[in-house]
């Protein structure tokens, strides 16, 4: 057998093949995941006639595009009310969840006290209880509190989903921050809250943002709890609201549904894009050793 001589052109060729393969699969991946949103966009700009027509190519706009569905959504439906409700619920849920879970994660990861390890595991276990199991007892609780059919019911129940998981991922992240940092702040003269706000939280920001994104998603995208606890259009949130207002009986208002879903998805997309940058820069900062 003849052994091939070592050559740089060989390495270069291998590299090129690796790149080509990488691009091939990446493009496949992108098509797979971006096709549904693309189809939503296209559909939302089509007239009702075109949507129900079987002629023409379905994934391009054949006739003149229209803004009818968007106009209709914003003027003739509860969409804006639902959007506002969702935003309020999400802001409160994120604020409450993050306040509780930052403090919980800090104490569970930093302070040694009786039962702290058991508590940390316990926090995670509560997350494992499925919400489909919880909504029946929660219904009774919210009924007693007089919060049924109110968006504030969601502000009360969403943190029960967000806090355990947020606490859990932050315990892990906080544990990776050297304890000497807290101690240096204490010796520098900080009180514990000064240490927490001026040193610890800024340093832990990547972990906190990851948790914030999670809490945001839970609140923005949850379907089951609004469906179970809220029934009037004035208090409803986007996920359930869009569906109940635009599917009437067995009539699907596809154009409106697509437009509504797109507008509902816009805030998370924008926030993710913005925070992800921060998140990644935070993760890579200081990784290059001096």
């Amino acid at each position: 057998m003849i052994r091939k001589a070592f050559s740089f052109s060989n390495i270069q060729r291998n590299r090129r093949w690796a790149l080509i393969l990488a691009y091939f699969f990446l493009i496949l991946f992108i098509i797979f995941f971006l096709f549904p949103p693309y189809y939503m966009i296209v559909t939302s700009f089509k007239t009702n006639e075109e949507i129900s027509s079987v002629k023409g190519i379905p994934w391009i706009i054949n006739q003149a595009p229209t803004l009818y569905h968007y106009k209709n959504l914003l003027t003739n439906t509860y969409f804006l009310t639902h959007f506002k409700n969702t935003a309020i619920v999400t802001i409160f849920t994120v604020a409450i969840s993050m306040t509780i879970s930052i403090l919980a994660a800090y104490s569970l990861s930093r302070m040694r006290f009786f039962g702290s390890a058991v508590l940390a595991t316990g926090v995670f276990l509560t997350y494992l209880v499925p919400e489909t199991l919880l909504f029946i007892p929660l219904f009774k609780v919210l009924g007693k509190l007089g919060l049924l059919n109110s968006k504030w019911a969601l502000v009360v129940v969403f943190p029960t989903l967000a806090v355990p998981f947020c606490t859990w991922i932050m315990i892990g992240y906080f544990g990776s921050i050297p304890k000497a940092l807290d101690e240096a702040a204490l010796i520098d003269g900080a009180r514990w809250y000064q240490m927490l706000f001026q040193v610890f939280i800024p340093v832990a920001m990547p972990g906190i943002i990851a948790a914030t994104i999670f809490a945001f998603t839970i609140s923005w995208a949850n379907f089951l709890y609004p469906l179970a606890f809220v029934y009037s259009n004035e208090e409803m949130t986007l996920t359930v609201g869009t569906v109940t207002t635009l599917i009437r009986g067995d009539v699907y208002h596809w154009g409106g549904l697509m437009a509504g879903a797109l507008l509902a998805a816009a805030p998370p997309v924008i926030i993710y894009a913005f925070l992800m940058d921060y998140y990644i820069s935070g993760l890579t900062a200081g990784t290059v050793k001096g």
């Binding site: 940092l181 702040a185 204490l186 009180r191 001096g290």
Partner: protein, 372 residues
């Protein structure tokens, strides 16, 4: 500017006794080094002084004040950590100013102090950088700078040089000594490196298993180690230890090490008469063993025949690992030595510098001289 007094300090972690009955008085402006192998309780002691650990028993005074129940911020101390613990989200300037800001100093005063400290440490050009843009040595300086801007009464250093490379460590060692002269402040310095302890400390505290073994100046602990542990810990390479027996002969007392015998110099005999026929541990430092061909003429020595096992030329000297029967010795000899691997040579031991330790724990040193 303060004295530090530690009275019968003990610290337990659950059932582990990390520090046992620690007694130490540190004078104003002293540079005290706590040194010992890892797990000896030296860092724990320092953290108790800093207020980062609660003491189990005992009292700590800084100046005239008992500080046991004071939080770190009220103890007027500053600490430099092993991994620097710089705030990564703040610039060098902000790092150094943080403590002053918390204490509500005026902006102008903060600015002046930070620039002053930066000048002393030669880091003026780095003030706007973030810690991640600094090299290890620069980070170290910033950590020291953060401590000195506060002008505390006591500085605490927790193994500050152990993350630096060898060359930088030597340089920072000298700079910290210089800094001590400039600042004239009490320093408590923890290290596991006996070279740092010897070169920087005005007083060394050697610890083992949570207990103080010996307190003294660097030369005292080097020349008169109280026990075998201190003898072996201080000095590099470590002191040679050989099981031996004191025997009496017509010509006087001798040390019988099995494979060789050394007569004890007359001025030491009076101290060892009570030990005749007793098993002891005989100790001699590598630097007190010389190659016979290059030994000083004035040396009051006993020569022994050995086989060379390892030759390590270090330039200024040659380190030899040799055997004599079952006894193994390390020697630092003249670089002109003709020692070859597996060959026999003759070494001379400086008998005036021998150490005799008791066979039984805690292996106390037997007094063999009047201290000078």
């Amino acid at each position: 500017m303060a004295k530090v007094i530690i009275e019968s300090l003990s610290k337990n972690f659950d059932r582990v006794e990390a520090v046992k009955n620690f007694e130490l008085e540190i004078d104003d402006m002293e540079f005290v080094v706590l040194v010992g192998p890892s797990g000896c309780g030296k860092s724990t002691t320092l953290r108790c002084v800093a207020g980062l650990e609660e003491v189990t028993a005992g009292e700590i005074f800084i100046g005239d004040q008992m500080v046991n129940d004071l939080p770190p911020r009220d103890r007027n101390i500053a600490m430099v950590f092993q991994d620097y613990a710089l705030y990564p989200h703040m610039s060098v300037y902000q790092n150094m100013a943080f403590g002053l800001k918390l204490r509500k100093y005026a902006k102008a005063e903060i600015n002046q102090r930070v620039r002053e400290a930066a000048e002393i440490l030669g880091i003026e050009e780095l003030l706007n950088r973030k810690p991640r843009e600094l090299s290890g040595g620069q980070r170290q300086r910033v950590a020291v700078g953060r401590a000195i801007v506060r002008k505390p009464s006591v500085f605490l250093f927790d193994e500050p040089l152990s993350n630096l490379d060898a060359k930088l460590r030597v340089q920072m060692r000298a700079e910290l000594s210089k800094l001590h002269h400039t600042l004239k402040t009490t320093i408590i310095y923890v290290t596991h490196d006996q070279v740092e302890a010897m070169t920087m400390g005005t007083k060394i505290v050697i610890m083992k298993d949570g207990e103080i073994q010996q307190v003294g100046t660097p030369m005292e602990v080097y020349k008169y180690p109280v026990n075998q542990f201190v003898g072996g810990f201080i000095g590099s390479p470590a002191m040679n230890f050989i099981s031996a027996k004191i025997i009496s002969k017509d010509s006087g007392l001798s040390v019988d090490a099995g494979s060789f015998e050394l007569s004890i110099p007359p001025q030491k005999e009076q101290y060892l008469r009570g030990k005749i026929e007793e098993e002891v541990i005989f100790g001699i430092r590598p630097e007190d063993i010389q190659d016979k061909s290059f030994a000083e003429k004035s040396l009051q020595g006993g020569s022994i025949q050995v086989v060379v096992e390892v030759v390590e030329p270090l330039g200024s000297e040659v380190q030899l690992n040799v055997t004599s029967g079952e006894n193994v010795l390390v020697a630092r000899v003249d670089p002109r030595t003709q020692a070859r691997l597996s060959e026999e040579i003759e070494l001379v031991l400086d008998l005036d510098k021998i150490h005799i330790f008791e066979k039984d724990p805690p292996h106390l040193r037997v007094k063999t001289e009047e201290r000078s």
